[in-house]
């Protein structure tokens, strides 16, 4: 089995996991609200019937608050009605927390002069959207290598050849996903109940080391060719910053199992992408006439800087 077959196999494994991740939570949380976020300062609600413009434009008719603390009202600054008068967009002065749940209460909804009564709307991002945002964020927008500067040691060490770069990227992603979910389980079921939160660094690095050892042993038997190719770098995964940073970020932001898994997958694929791009450039760089003092690492750093500049283009990029 060569590296290409291996990458196909890995794709076959990851694609169902990814699809499952996207679809499963959406099945559990069936559509609840009739409102949706438009930007981080706007909420769109639809009434179902055409409402009166004078009523709809009056911001005093709306009460908006987070589901978790109903006492804190968020003031609506302005309302725009759609041309058919069936839906309205509420605008807010401050940015909303897109990952939490909001409730919008509309008092005395009036249609053609008649008062229809109060209506409530639940506004919430679906789980699939949140996961997809985390995934894209970890992979492109906040790419761990180019905008968070993690895992540089391996990044510069392994990116000299395309073949090792691909193998390393895939192996790294597997270890990353496994250890992210394992660290989440350890944190939730062992460390928190026992109040041992301060031990998280030691426990996480131990878990990662165990997984790397396991992959090492399995790969030696299953795919000796790739094992020989990766050789030294496999052990080096332990000293990669990303692999420890992802469980720490998960623990810090209190991510659930699906979020942890997605962040791990996104970080791993983002790292693999960065490695692949860099190795393509560095293979060409071997043939170029580089000033003597820049040869080797210094020019690699300058190239990485250019990549980081281009990855800046992803900032502010969002789908939902």
């Amino acid at each position: 089995m060569n590296a290409k077959q291996f990458s196909n196999l890995a794709l076959l494994i990851f694609l169902p996991i990814f699809l499952f991740l996207m679809v499963f939570p959406a099945l559990v949380h069936a559509a609840t609200g009739s409102g949706s976020f438009k930007k981080d300062t706007e909420i769109q609600i639809s009434f179902g019937v055409p409402v009166d413009e004078t009523w709809a434009k009056d911001t005093a008719n709306y009460r908006v608050f987070q589901k978790t603390d109903p006492d804190i009202e968020i003031p609506v600054t302005s309302v725009t009605l759609s041309p058919r008068r069936t839906s309205a967009v509420l605008q807010f002065g401050e940015a909303l927390n897109l990952s939490s749940e909001y409730e919008v209460q509309a008092n005395n909804v009036t249609s053609d002069g008649k008062v229809l009564g109060n209506e409530e709307f639940l506004v919430k991002k679906s789980e699939g959207q949140i996961l997809f945002t985390i995934f894209l964020g970890a992979m492109l927008i906040n790419n761990f290598v180019f905008t968070k500067y993690l895992g540089l040691c391996i990044f510069f060490g392994v990116s000299q050849k395309k073949e090792t770069a691909i193998g390393m990227g895939i192996t790294f992603t597997i270890v990353m996903v496994l250890s992210a979910i394992m660290c989440w389980a350890l944190l939730t079921f062992v460390l928190h109940p026992l109040h041992l939160g301060f031990l998280q660094i030691i426990v996480f690095i131990g878990t990662v080391a165990i997984f790397v050892q396991a992959v090492d042993t399995i790969l030696r038997k299953v795919n000796p060719y790739l094992f020989k190719k990766l050789g030294v770098y496999l052990v080096l995964i332990v000293t990669n910053c990303i692999i420890l940073a992802v469980p720490l970020i998960n623990a810090d932001s209190g991510n659930g199992p699906f979020e942890s898994l997605t962040l791990g997958l996104g970080a791993g694929l983002g790292f693999a992408l960065a490695l692949f791009l860099m190795s393509c450039v560095r293979e060409k760089l071997e043939l170029c006439r580089v000033p003597a003092v820049f040869r080797g690492l210094p020019i690699a750093f300058v190239v990485a800087g250019l990549f980081a500049l281009s990855f800046l283009g992803f900032s502010g990029f969002s789908i939902f």
Partner: protein, 206 residues
């Protein structure tokens, strides 16, 4: 020159962890948007490096060679947990900015490589000075990069306004860190070329 002093000098310039050995590059790019951050993380690394060097050098006869790497990692993780509790008390504001990287000291290649190459073979006193040398070399590297990026990026040094305008905003952006390190490495190579007459090959970068 005294051997201990030589060990410290060795870590500062000839074997500077960042520019010569090219180890632990992640924090060197990530936290160096200002001198203050670099100083904080550098001091944390000095602490962890010195104490784990001493610990390993004392207990080296008890550590079986086959499990030495996990043993070293546990020793480092112990001291990182200690410094992670001390720093927020000393300076909560700066700690917030470098928090993630203080925890990530566990996986900094420079520390484990010094334990493997030096502290596991030498007695306590040279290990202590080697740890000091490497730690201060790292601190020096972080502060140099931090100073360049802060000066050109915001026109300030250590928070004091010097220029009053931002000459090169790119320096505080992600890309700036890579450029600065690349150029400093090239400068180091150039100096060595001027002194010894040959171009050195840069370190292994991991």
């Amino acid at each position: 020159m005294n051997r201990n002093l030589k060990l410290i000098w060795n870590g500062l310039i000839p074997e500077n962890p960042i520019f010569r050995l090219a180890l632990s590059m992640c924090p060197a790019v990530a936290v160096t948007t200002s001198v203050e951050n670099g100083l904080m993380l550098g001091l944390a690394v000095v602490f962890v490096q010195v104490f784990s060097s001493c610990t390993v050098s004392i207990f080296k006869s008890f550590i079986h060679p086959r499990i030495r790497i996990p043993a070293y990692v546990i020793v480092i993780a112990l001291w990182v947990t200690v410094i992670d509790m001390i720093l927020p008390v000393i300076s909560p504001d700066v700690y917030k900015k470098v928090e993630l990287f203080v925890k990530l000291i566990v996986v900094f290649a420079i520390i484990i490589s010094r334990l493997e190459l030096f502290a596991s073979k030498e007695p306590l006193v040279p290990s202590f000075f080697d740890g000091m040398g490497m730690g201060f070399g790292f601190l020096f590297g972080l502060c140099l990069i931090g100073a360049i990026r802060e000066f050109f990026g915001t026109g300030q040094l250590l928070g004091y306004d010097i220029l009053g305008f931002n000459p090169l905003l790119i320096m505080v952006l992600p890309a700036g860190g890579f450029f600065v390190i690349g150029f400093i490495m090239a400068t180091f190579n150039w100096f060595e070329y001027k002194i010894t007459g040959k171009i050195p090959t840069s370190g292994g970068a991991h």
